[in-house]
């Protein structure tokens, strides 16, 4: 079985210099919906607003008329079993600026990602993110949004794309994780996340760079859960060294991160393997 790549003819294809963000379509559309919909349109998924947020970034960049790099969003799906045409038609229905669809089968989706020169892969499934990280593809978790999403074509103020980086990946020495009792599999993911971190930060940094500190359509948040304040400081310095502009920063010093995540409501979350979450906690 082969990977199918379908071009979205409704959308102008971007140049090869654009940064490619591959998004798993499971968050963008609700593929398991029970409610019957009009034939070819899938309901919006819990992470639908991510695509809108990236579009807003591209629009602002285009309005600035500069040579800033744009962001090319492609949809990736693994084992869709016949819903391919619905995904394509729904994309067109909602007018999403998605340039291509990459329909994979079986376990070969990381190879497909590598073949399509993806700069960043986003999925709601931690297992997919781990697989990608272990193949050295920068990847992060796509988070469900609980901000109310308007139905239909109503104009909606798009909240800025919020990206959460792990200060622990950037500043926490491994010995501390071992002391804290994390398992070897978790440490492996941590290491894989650390290895891709620079590339991930580069993509996010590139997205953030053209905008000022206020009214940016992209916000970068750095959070240390386990690290001490000096390890958090180390993470902040690392980010600065990479030229990555950080807007918000949190040092939790062991406090539970769920209540804070509810406030931040990230779209994209750097997965560091330290938390046994099968999904990001319901941000209600």
């Amino acid at each position: 079985m082969e990977t199918q790549i379908i071009i979205n003819t409704d959308v102008v294809q971007m140049s090869a210099s654009a940064i490619v963000i591959a998004v798993s379509c499971h968050g963008i559309f609700d593929l398991n919906s029970d409610t019957p919909t009009e034939s070819d349109t899938l309901p919006k998924g819990v992470a639908f607003s991510l695509v809108k947020a990236i579009q807003a970034i591209n629009e602002k960049l285009a309005a600035k008329n500069s040579n800033d790099t744009l962001f090319d969003v492609i949809l990736v799906a693994n084992d869709l079993q016949g819903n391919q045409s619905k995904v394509v038609s729904s994309t067109k229905h909602y007018g999403l600026q998605i340039s291509r669809f990459c329909f994979c089968t079986g376990e070969d989706f990381t190879q497909s990602l590598q073949a399509t020169n993806v700069n960043l892969y986003l999925s709601m499934e931690t297992s997919d993110v781990c697989k990608a990280l272990q193949e050295a593809v920068p990847a992060a978790l796509l988070c469900p949004q609980t901000r109310p999403q308007l139905e239909g074509d109503e104009e909606q103020v798009v909240s800025p794309l919020t990206v959460l980086l792990s200060g622990d990946v950037m500043g926490l020495p491994e010995e501390k994780l071992l002391e804290a009792g994390f398992s070897q599999p978790q440490l492996q993911i941590f290491r894989a996340a650390k290895a891709s971190m620079a590339d991930f930060a580069a993509v996010i940094g590139e997205m953030r760079r053209p905008f000022g500190r206020e009214d940016s359509p992209l916000r970068v948040t750095l959070m240390s859960v386990l690290g001490s304040r000096d390890e958090w400081a180390s993470a902040l310095l690392t980010a600065r060294g990479w030229g990555l502009e950080v807007d918000e920063a949190y040092c939790l010093a062991g406090a539970s991160r769920d209540p804070i995540l509810k406030c931040i409501q990230p779209h994209i979350l750097c997965y560091d393997g330290l938390y046994n979450v099968s999904e990001v906690p319901a941000l209600s």
Partner: protein, 375 residues
């Protein structure tokens, strides 16, 4: 106060040298720099941490005090730059002065005293999570973070939790940390917090600060509209003093409803009882004061009975019968004094007491003027 505990300044946190920041190709890849060298924590901080068996307490169990950066430290100069020249210049200034520790702000002595109490608590209850936890909760952009960390390190403060919201409202985060008390220089945020049921007060920079004890935390409270609700205050302001006396006499046995600081007094009382339980009533390092314009002979009764009905103790109750609070506070030397009326807050500040304004109740809507009669 600031001179007593200064540890040697650790080597400055500075950005690693020469990392290329510009690239605009399709796959920008910045080289991963070697981990920047951070100066080790000053030795006494490390020692203190080891002593305190530093497992970070769960916010649910501790008494969480959130302080903004402008009340923990003095940022008058920086604030002026922000107001006059804008965000960019302000941030540039902060980063340029990153290795210069900030000077202490109005909440600094309070935080230091809180840490002393924690040390004493840990001596008696090494494994307990019922301690104070101070969180730095600021609206600031993350770029200011390093200067704040350097400043915290410089004074050897045990602040481990930081929330830099980069312009977003702190309210959600205050709730997430189960905040028991929020101190900020921004009156608008304080009001928002109070509206959301979070105990909160506004603090101001001081020109003159009296010496306060280092080994005993002293917290002073006004009564009406601070510990108690503003029921009686309303009567006084709308119907006058005589009506107030009548009302309070008639209802002497009926407890007042609670005010915004009741919960904090309760939290302090809980910690005090931990000392009493170990036979340390006389040496308890927390002392609370009621400083009210009510008079002992009459309207004070209802205040005391209310406290009793809540099962709360207060160490000293000072009924001033309308006299100015400044001189009394100067004698008490509390680390912080909470009042709902700016008149009293300014009066106290003029005499060197750190006073915090609680923007609650009718006093905020009625024009302030000094009381003419005895209460």
């Amino acid at each position: 106060m600031s001179g007593s505990n200064i540890a040697r300044l650790p080597p400055p946190l500075s950005a690693p040298a020469a990392v290329s920041g510009s690239s605009s190709t399709a796959r920008p890849a910045l080289p991963l720099p070697a981990a920047p060298a951070i100066g080790g924590k000053s030795s006494s901080h490390t020692a203190r941490k080891a002593e305190t068996n530093s497992k970070f307490p769960n916010p649910k169990n501790c008494v969480t005090i959130a302080v903004s950066s402008r009340v923990l430290f003095n940022m008058d100069v920086e604030q002026q730059i922000y107001e006059q020249k804008g965000m960019e210049d302000y941030l540039t200034y902060q980063v340029e002065h990153e290795t210069e520790p900030l000077k202490p702000g109005p909440a600094f002595p309070f935080v230091k005293a809180v840490e002393e109490v924690n040390m004493r608590l840990r001596e008696l209850y090494p494994d307990s999570e019922e301690v104070f936890d101070v969180v730095l909760m600021t609206n600031n952009h993350a770029n200011v973070g390093l200067r704040l960390i350097n400043s915290v390190n410089h004074y050897n403060l045990l602040v481990e939790r930081f929330c830099m919201t980069g312009g977003n409202s702190p309210i959600g985060y205050l709730k997430a940390y189960h905040t028991n008390l929020y101190l900020s220089a921004d009156a608008i945020k304080v009001r928002e917090a109070l509206d959301e049921g979070i105990t909160s007060a506004t603090m101001f920079s001081l020109d003159k600060v009296s010496e306060v004890p280092e080994t005993e935390l002293r917290v002073a409270f006004d009564g009406d509209a601070v510990l108690f609700d503003d029921e009686a205050e309303r009567i006084f302001k709308t119907q006058g003093l005589d009506k107030f006396f009548e009302h309070e006499k008639a209802l002497a046995d009926q407890p007042l409803d609670h005010g915004p600081l009741k919960g904090f007094l309760e939290a302090l009382g809980k910690l005090q009882r931990k000392f009493y339980a170990k036979g340390q009533r006389l040496e308890c390092p927390i002392r609370t004061y009621l400083v009210t314009a009510r008079s002992a002979a009459s309207s004070g009764t209802r205040a005391l009975k209310t406290l009793r009905s809540w099962g709360l103790e207060i160490d000293e109750a000072l009924f001033l019968a309308g006299a100015p609070k400044g001189p009394m506070l100067e004698k008490i030397r509390p680390h912080i004094f909470f009042d709902d009326q700016m008149f009293h807050v300014t009066g106290a500040s003029r005499m060197g007491t750190v006073a915090a304004h609680v923007p609650y109740g009718i006093a905020q809507r009625v024009p302030q003027k000094p009381p003419k009669h005895n209460k």
